[in-house]
């Protein structure tokens, strides 16, 4: 307690001495910097700091959500392959896991960024798939549905969904929908890195399922896929859920590495705001608050899912148990 008071006292004196202003009032000031990439809401330099932070939070959410989906899918696949009986799958999957787990995410992220920015062709000669998807140094342009709204001369409002696809001409690729190389490298690095950890969790979960279960399923002539889908995975899920929550939390926290490739996530915005206003205390506490909120939200959702799953499985146990119903 005394230590906390002492630290607080020091901070107060230091802030006084250096003439540093404090308080969160700067949030409504004009930000004065542009953000290259926005999600859901638009932003320009004339808007306030709090809006910049909001854009950062949304960008963090976007990359984390993409990473979560890809990492889960890849992780389960690699985990299944790692616990397969086929030597080919085993070898490939365990090499993948060992390679990815033992190299810091930071370096993997930087490598992906260099690969995307320097080794891909320039925007004037992109890789293209079916003239709908273009991959170049400028990023990945993809088609999508666009909500268009306009007023015709008579004053009626026209609005409709339009299938919009990127256009490729002499100047390069233009399109409404584009993943920047910063986003791509971050999403790819995060999902590959996390997938290796998820794969190990999945493998441990599968190993924890009693061997008799698989043998029983085999004797019922289920195919290998059916065995995994209906017998092994549902039982492994109970073991997998808690450490999986941890990995999801790690993924969201690791998305803060965006700052090294310049993806405008909440850390990047906080860093810029900190350098512009000098309000270290405020910016860092906003940053920590945002991540704490994310962590809390994921923990809540996963606990809830876990609880529901447990309830569901419990019910299953009752049905299959040998309990003789009491006679009335």
């Amino acid at each position: 307690m005394a230590a906390v008071l002492w630290l607080g006292h020091n901070t107060w004196i230091n802030l006084k001495q250096r003439g540093i202003q404090s308080g969160f009032d700067f949030l409504s000031d004009t930000a004065g910097f542009d953000i290259g990439e926005t999600f859901l809401i638009s932003f320009d330099g004339s808007q306030a700091y709090w809006q910049a932070f909001l854009v950062g939070v949304l960008n963090t959410l976007k990359v984390s959500a993409c990473g979560l989906v890809m990492a889960s899918f890849l992780g389960v696949m690699v985990g299944l392959g790692r616990s397969s009986v086929r030597p080919l799958f085993k070898l490939i999957c365990s090499t993948y896991i060992e390679l990815i787990r033992n190299i810091p995410l930071m370096i993997q992220l930087l490598m992906w960024y260099v690969l995307l920015v320097e080794f891909l062709p320039p925007s004037t000669e992109p890789y293209s798939w079916f003239n709908h998807i273009y991959l170049s140094q400028e990023g990945l342009a993809y088609p999508g549905l666009l909500w268009l709204q306009s007023t015709d001369p008579s004053g009626a409002i026209l609005s409709l969904w339009v299938w919009d696809r990127p256009i490729f001409d002499a100047q390069g690729v233009h399109g409404e929908f584009n993943f920047s190389p910063e986003f791509l490298s971050l999403a790819v690095a995060l999902s590959l890195y996390t997938s290796a950890f998820i794969a190990e969790i999945v493998r441990a979960g599968i190993q924890s399922v009693a061997k008799g279960q698989v043998e029983a399923a085999q004797s019922l002539a289920l195919t290998p896929w059916q065995i995994q889908r209906w017998v092994v995975l549902p039982q492994a899920a109970r073991m997998i859920a808690p450490p999986l929550t941890n990995q999801y939390l790690n993924l969201v926290k690791n998305s803060s590495l965006a700052v090294v490739v310049g993806y405008p996530d909440v850390v990047n915005i906080a860093n810029t705001a900190l350098n512009q206003t000098g309000r270290a205390l405020e910016c860092i506490s906003i940053l920590m608050g945002v991540y704490l909120m994310f962590s809390l939200a994921i923990a809540l959702v996963m606990n809830r899912t876990n609880y529901k799953a447990r309830q569901y499985l419990q019910r299953g146990d009752d049905i299959t148990s040998n309990k003789v119903p009491a006679r009335s």
């Binding site: 630290l7 086929r86 490939i92 930087l110 850390v267 205390l281 962590s295």
Partner: protein, 395 residues
């Protein structure tokens, strides 16, 4: 042997006849021939590969993909690569093959950072010392009761020697000046990575143990403080803690006493990883049987005696693999300090290549080089952790 009476004999014969009615006797198998060996081989192949058409297609696709990636890597990294320190050759091979010459040109900058060029042998010696003592102490025999004091003593000596070599004077005292002094700001590369990770491991482990004890204690205030600390720290990314270390620590301490950035960052990583260490230790504490605690209490041992002599030795033995995994995580995490401008391996690579327009394009090769260094360390540690795990499981 009993002799059978005639009536029994006839019954047996009757029985045999009825058996041969029911069963047809099968002749013994002949010795395996070449044909059978082929069949056995095919059966084994079926186990290794598959007979399912879908799986076969999938395996084929995967194998082709992996082979393509391998050939791409081989083409780029070996066949078309330039191994000499030859800038014009690298320039002409650009895009086609790797330029490993960049490592030969820049490896001193990458490994030792901004350390004065003439004095870099000191960095190298310091690293070798640390690596040697590490290699000695991962051997479980170094931690037997008889050798433990010697191992700990060797660690203290190594730490002092490391600091003396890097700073140029014993304990940083001007009086014991041996070599030209080097400011901690100029430390970089591998020695910085090692000192940051080992230093924070050494500091975070006791702090983590204390936090774990606090979290499992009966005192509500202590417990809630520890729970709040652990959960708060585990909820935020390391980057925010590093920002705090570089921007906020100077504000927290009395003015005129700003500790240097290395110390601040070391403290930041320590505070961060202590929370994770605490969770690992808590797992070990929970694994110790409750009867142990009761037995210690019935011997009227006090709290600290109980923890030190009964609970902790058992708990720590349980969690050695978990702790090694934690060490690996800390080691990898040190790569983040480049964000607050400390030039450890990752940072010093940027330093080496960004400033030189001729060699700047060959960053990927540089990243692969330091990735290999990290991989060797982490892979070795994880193997050790796995060995310890199986050793513990056998016990």
């Amino acid at each position: 042997m009993n002799t059978l009476r005639p009536s029994q004999e006839s019954a047996l014969a009757e029985n045999n006849k009825s058996i041969s009615h029911v069963y047809t006797w099968v002749a013994a198998r002949s010795a395996p021939q070449a044909k059978d060996r082929v069949i056995a081989l095919l059966l084994r192949l079926r186990h290794y590969i598959t007979t399912q058409p879908f799986e076969a297609l999938f395996s084929l696709g995967l194998a082709i993909l992996v082979l393509q990636l391998l050939s791409l890597a081989l083409n780029w990294g070996v066949i078309h690569a330039v191994f000499q320190v030859d800038e014009s050759a690298c320039q002409s091979a650009r895009g086609e093959g790797a330029c490993w010459g960049v490592i030969g040109e820049k490896f001193r900058m990458i490994l030792w950072g901004r350390f004065p060029y003439q004095e870099q042998w000191r960095s190298a010696t310091a690293c070798c010392l640390i690596l040697a003592i590490l290699a000695l102490s991962v051997n479980p025999r170094a931690w037997t009761p008889r050798l433990k004091p010697f191992t700990l003593g060797a660690w203290v000596v190594t730490a002092l020697a490391f600091h003396t070599l890097m700073a140029g004077s014993f304990l940083g005292l001007r009086f014991f000046q041996i070599w030209p002094p080097v400011d901690t700001e100029l430390w970089g590369g591998l020695p910085l990575t090692l000192i940051l990770s080992l230093g924070s491991i050494a500091l975070a482990t006791p702090l983590g143990i204390v936090l774990a004890l606090g979290r499992t204690s009966d005192m509500p205030i202590v417990r809630s403080i520890c729970v709040i600390y652990i959960e708060l720290v585990r909820g935020v990314p390391l980057i925010s803690v590093l920002f705090m270390a570089s921007f906020m620590f100077p504000l927290l301490l009395p003015s005129l006493q700003t500790p240097d950035v290395l110390l601040r960052v070391l403290l930041g990583i320590t505070l961060f990883s202590a929370a994770y260490t605490a969770e690992v230790v808590r797992g070990g504490l929970q694994a110790v049987d409750h009867g142990q605690l009761e037995a210690a209490q019935s011997l009227s041992l006090g709290y600290w005696q109980t923890q030190r002599c009964v609970i902790l030795p058992q708990a720590l033995a349980h969690i050695i693999p978990g702790m090694v995994n934690n060490f690996i995580a800390i080691f990898k995490d040190t790569s983040l300090v480049t964000i607050v401008s400390l030039y450890e391996l990752t940072g010093s690579l940027g330093l080496a290549l960004n400033g030189d327009a001729n060699w700047r394009p060959y960053k990927l090769e540089g990243y692969l080089f330091i990735a290999a260094i990290y991989f060797v360390f982490c892979f070795t540690l994880s193997r050790i952790s796995r060995n310890l795990e199986s050793r513990l499981a056998r016990r």
